[in-house]
């Protein structure tokens, strides 16, 4: 009997058995995601309710949103594991064997650029620059408005070149150090010169943030898988296959360069707002508008019409408060009667905090629209990229997908996951983080937070409040990073590539701590009005020094983790807070720079972890490679006999 000719025995099982098989799997996946997000949710609730003692607005919607985030992440991570990553790995593993280096370069360039256009990072940047005024930062304003198309293009080309160079790196066996260190040095030097120029200085924050936001939850796993696939077939040096990382690093450095160059170009050709060849500055009214946002006086004027209507009808308008002082209080039949008090009627504060326009705060939008938006976003982020990869596989590589693959299921899962996850973020995390982010300035500034109109002044002293804000920022960054899908994917990949030696929790914890420190530093920069360059330079210098002395393997993980930190969970939360803080401090023009600092943090922490564990283990594990001693007899009993 020839076993190949007999029909494949496919087991058919009923619904009951199906659910029995499915249930442990669903439970396992769901719990894994819950592990990632519980910290950030619990922390936000804790801070809102217990520290700030503010009521939670829209609690029900937020709860639904958080559950949706967990469900969405569950689908998305499974989709990555089953679909997107195998797809990337298949292409990475077959392309080098079938096609020339030139074709591979073109493919990498297109993939990088396409990934950037697919993931709408630019929306985030626009949000960060929403309070930028043309008068204060004309070049930055121009880049975000009339040149935003060029900005996206520059970032796309930057990422494309980065992916190309990252893939070429595998072919020529260049250590990542040799690419990353010169790039960073170049960027720092450029930043130094830009920093000295009053016009160009404003672009720095945008440029460094661009590097951080380009690499999203779809791009990172795909590019990681691609690199691993390429490294599988392209062996460079003994023990090949030890890398596959590094593309993400370059993809977060090159866009910075691209944006700096674009800014430099427009500066030198005088095409920005208010310059010789550019559009004129907007009317002065716009400037006043911006200043109005930073007013710390929180009483509004009553108007003549109010007085007239009171005199006419005898009733006060609805939104006022009545305050009285002086007079003679007397107890009369159980009632305190004040004779001849001075009564002042003033209008209630209209919440200044509402001026901070949260880009993701869409609470009043219809639920159906939100569902549609989330789905459209997911389709836009996933479908073109997968289609591109599939077409490349079919027509450029001329290969077909392996039999019995789960890639179709995986892509559908990723799509569902991304949509549900996006919806969950809109419903749950952003309102929660947005309320809190907007409330954080209440710790040191005299504004009335949403839902907390009874507060009359800052909760803490000004300096103490700033410290609270910085501490809050640290834990916000830490918790949000733990939930990031791209970091989860990186953690899984690192664990798989090192056969479990470098475990996922270690990477996640060190990266999360690094991001926390970075975001805290970003808030320090904002509340104390320090220049971004003063933070970036020492941080990157430290990272470079550590890079020089750290072993190659850790260099790869560490720099790659810098790119994965800023994703769909971190960005809205951090942005909400950054903007909230920024809008309440008169000297701050934009919320840029926090994400850039959040990227450099993990580089330092992961390299430090690598160095510390290495120095601790070296003594025990890797005994010096000396010649065998003649008297090794005592050791042979190890074998037992």
């Amino acid at each position: 009997m020839n076993p190949t000719t007999q029909p494949k025995t496919k087991m058919s099982i009923g619904w009951a058995d199906t659910s029995r098989i499915l249930w442990p799997y669903v439970k396992r996946s769901f719990l894994a995601q819950l592990q990632g997000i519980w910290f950030i949710v619990a922390y936000l609730l804790f801070f809102q309710v217990l520290v700030l003692k503010l009521p939670l607005v829209f609690a029900g919607m937020i709860a639904v949103g958080v559950v949706l985030v967990a469900v969405g992440l569950m689908f998305f991570m499974e989709g990555l594991r089953l679909g997107l990553m195998p797809l990337g790995e298949t292409i990475g593993g077959t392309l080098p064997t079938r096609r020339t280096l030139g074709t591979i370069c073109v493919f990498a360039l297109l993939l990088g650029a396409g990934a950037t256009f697919a993931e709408p990072a630019i929306a985030v940047l626009k949000a960060a620059g929403s309070s930028v005024s043309a008068a204060d930062a004309p070049l930055l304003f121009s880049l975000l408005n009339e040149f935003s198309g060029q900005l996206v293009l520059a970032v796309g080309v930057g990422v494309g070149l980065a992916v190309m160079l990252g893939v070429l790196r595998f072919f020529f066996a260049i250590p990542l150090k040799y690419l990353a260190i010169p790039s960073v040095l170049l960027l720092l030097t450029m930043s130094y010169f830009y920093n000295a120029n009053p016009i160009l200085k404003d672009v720095l924050g945008l440029a460094w943030d661009c590097g951080a936001v380009t690499t999203g939850p779809v791009t990172v796993p795909l590019v990681l898988a691609l690199g691993i696939g390429v490294c599988r077939v392209v062996q460079s040096g003994v023990g090949g296959g030890n890398s596959g990382f590094g593309i993400v690093t370059l993809a977060s450095l090159f866009p910075v360069l691209a944006v700096l160059l674009l800014g430099g170009y427009h500066y030198s050709s005088d095409t920005y707002r208010g310059a010789a060849n550019g559009l004129p500055l907007p009317a002065v009214a716009a400037v006043e508008d911006v200043q109005a946002q930073t007013v710390t006086e929180y009483r509004e004027w009553m108007h003549r019409e109010d007085l007239e209507s009171y005199v006419a009808t005898g009733t006060l308008p609805g939104d006022v408060r009545v305050e009285f002082s002086g007079g003679e209080p007397v107890l009369e039949q159980g009632v305190i009667v004040i004779s001849d008090p001075q009564v002042r009627v003033y209008r209630e504060q209209t919440r200044r905090i509402d001026l901070i326009e949260q880009p993701h705060w869409e609470g009043d939008k219809a639920f159906a629209t939100q569902v549609k938006d989330a789905f459209v976003d997911a389709v836009r982020a996933i479908v073109p990229l997968c289609l591109f990869l599939y077409l490349v596989l079919r027509f450029v590589v001329r290969d077909s997908l392996p039999k019995n693959n789960d890639i179709g299921i995986g892509v559908v899962f990723a799509l569902i996951g991304m949509a549900v996850f996006g919806l969950g973020i809109t419903l749950g995390l952003t309102p929660l983080g947005g309320q809190l982010g907007a409330n954080i300035p209440a710790t040191f500034a005299s504004v009335v937070p949403r839902g907390g109109e009874w507060l009359t002044g800052p909760l803490f002293s000004e300096f103490g409040g700033k410290i609270v804000a910085v501490l809050f920022a640290f834990f916000l960054g830490y918790g949000a990073t733990l939930a990031e899908p791209a970091l989860n994917a990186l953690g899984d990949t690192v664990e798989r590539v090192t056969a479990g030696a470098f475990r996922k929790p270690l990477l996640m914890q060190s990266v999360a701590a690094g991001v926390g420190v970075g975001i805290a530093a970003g808030i320090v920069k904002m509340v104390f009005g320090l220049p971004l360059y003063g933070f970036l330079l020492p941080a990157y210098m430290l990272a470079l020094v550590l890079t020089c002395i750290a072993p190659n393997a850790y260099v790869n993980f560490a720099w790659d983790s810098a790119g994965v930190t800023t994703g769909p969970i971190t960005v809205p939360l951090v942005m909400a807070m950054g903007l909230g803080v920024g809008a309440n401090i008169p000297s701050v023009t934009d919320g840029f720079g926090i994400l850039a600092l959040a990227s450099v943090g993990p580089i330092v922490t992961v390299l430090t972890v690598g160095l510390v564990t290495q120095s601790r283990d070296r003594a025990v594990d890797d005994a010096p490679d000396q010649e065998p001693a003649a008297s090794a007899a005592g050791v042979q009993e190890t074998a037992g006999a």
Partner: protein, 402 residues
């Protein structure tokens, strides 16, 4: 190639730290012209405190490689590798040779068969003979518990690498996505006399007789040397447990003193499906462990075929082929990966696969494959028996093979 099929061969496997691995490839494997397949593994590092749940320590990375050599020279190859990698030193690595029974080689397999005897470079460190190799395939959550049990039973810390599984779950249509992708394979090398005890301890600790827990089997190893670390802890103790055990062994001259600590595995375990002890159980069908080396592109075909032949489950991992050429090149070389497939099944199932390999038709695209079999001395897993009417266990039992 037919003459190779008649030859007795041994599979030499080495577990080495990365830098010694390069030295071995350059000085032993390349001069002999052997084709070695290498993959990554890790040593064991148990978690000491609760804090390490969040910040787990980084386990020492190891590289494993396997090469087929004629049996005649396997001993000297093992000795060469041991001498080159200084494996007599504590906590370095291991190298061992298993006899391959029934080697079958495809027409296009690029196997080179060194005829020259290896040059024994070292001073001939005594190899231990009569070793046992324990392989245990479990979920990664279980690895720590089993490792601890193995170390407490006197073995070294297991060397772990990752495999993927194929089996029952792949026949469930779209439900195959519920399968865990990566499983840990724990490898433990120890003296044959102790192997059974270690095996029992691990079987009990891992509750391997329960459905869905895992699969463990034991092979014989002809000769080898191992000096793998047993680390219950890295910092808090001056000597590790294994060093202390070795010292006591050495002082007392025997290992009987350890037997008192072993728990007896009795009928209670057997009744729930666990079958232990090969000597007193004669009606059990003899199992074989089939190992195959197949190009990556072909592994699906091969595995499908093995499952069609009646194998309950197959596991596989991918390995690089290392040759001398790669070790010196500064520029990269494009090479295909190989899949290392292992499958434990009844003798007649393995025989069916082997016959297909010998006389065709083996449904692979290329003839670039090698397979051989080893006797399985002992194994433990959950066995579904038809008298258990519980559907639930059947559904869960699927995991054990998948």
């Amino acid at each position: 190639m037919s003459d190779i099929n008649q030859m007795d061969a041994s599979a030499v496997t080495a577990i080495l730290p990365a830098h010694r691995y390069q030295k071995v490839i350059k000085e032993v494997v390349a001069p002999l012209g052997l084709q070695a397949l290498s993959w990554r593994a890790r040593g064991t590092l148990l978690k000491d405190s609760w804090l390490e749940r969040f910040l787990p320590p980084i386990s020492p990375g190891k590289i494993m490689f396997r090469a087929l050599v004629p049996e005649a020279i396997s001993r000297s190859v093992v000795q060469d590798i041991a001498a080159t990698a200084c494996l007599h030193q504590q906590a370095t690595g291991a190298v061992f040779a298993e006899r391959c029974h029934g080697l079958v080689v495809g027409d296009e397999a690029s196997i080179t068969w060194p005829t020259l005897a290896a040059n024994v470079a070292g001073d001939g460190h005594a190899l231990s003979s009569d070793l046992g190799l324990i392989c245990c395939i479990v979920d990664k959550e279980q690895t720590d518990r089993l490792s601890r049990a193995a170390i407490m039973a006197g073995a070294h810390g297991p060397v772990v690498h990752l495999v993927e599984g194929r089996g029952l779950r792949d026949r469930l249509g779209w439900l195959r996505i519920t399968k865990m992708h990566d499983k840990d394979v724990l490898l433990i090398l120890c003296a044959k006399s102790e192997a059974e005890a270690v095996f029992h301890e691990m079987a009990v600790a891992g509750e391997l007789s329960k459905p869905g827990r895992g699969f463990m089997y034991r092979l014989d190893v002809e000769e080898g040397i191992f000096n793998l670390p047993s680390r219950v802890s890295s910092r808090h103790y001056a000597a590790n447990v294994q060093q202390i055990i070795n010292a006591i062994d050495h002082l007392s001259g025997h290992t009987h003193w350890r037997d008192g600590g072993l728990r007896a595995v009795g009928a209670g375990v057997q009744s729930s499906g666990l079958k232990l002890g090969s000597s007193n159980d004669t009606d059990r069908p003899q199992l074989l462990c089939l190992s195959a080396i197949v190009p990556r592109d072909d592994h699906d075909n091969f595995i499908e075929f093995a499952l069609d032949c009646g194998a309950k489950g197959v596991n596989f991992g991918f390995a690089h082929r290392d040759s001398a050429m790669v070790s010196d090149a500064s520029v990269s070389v494009i090479q295909q990966d190989y899949a290392l497939i292992q499958c434990v099944a009844n003798r007649d199932v393995i025989q069916k696969i082997r016959t297909a390999g010998k006389n065709g038709p083996l449904p692979t695209d290329s003839g670039d494959w090698i397979m051989y079999a080893n006797d399985v001395i002992d194994h433990v897993t959950y066995v579904y028996r038809s008298d258990q009417k519980d559907n639930r266990t059947r559904a869960r039992g699927a995991r054990q093979t998948a």
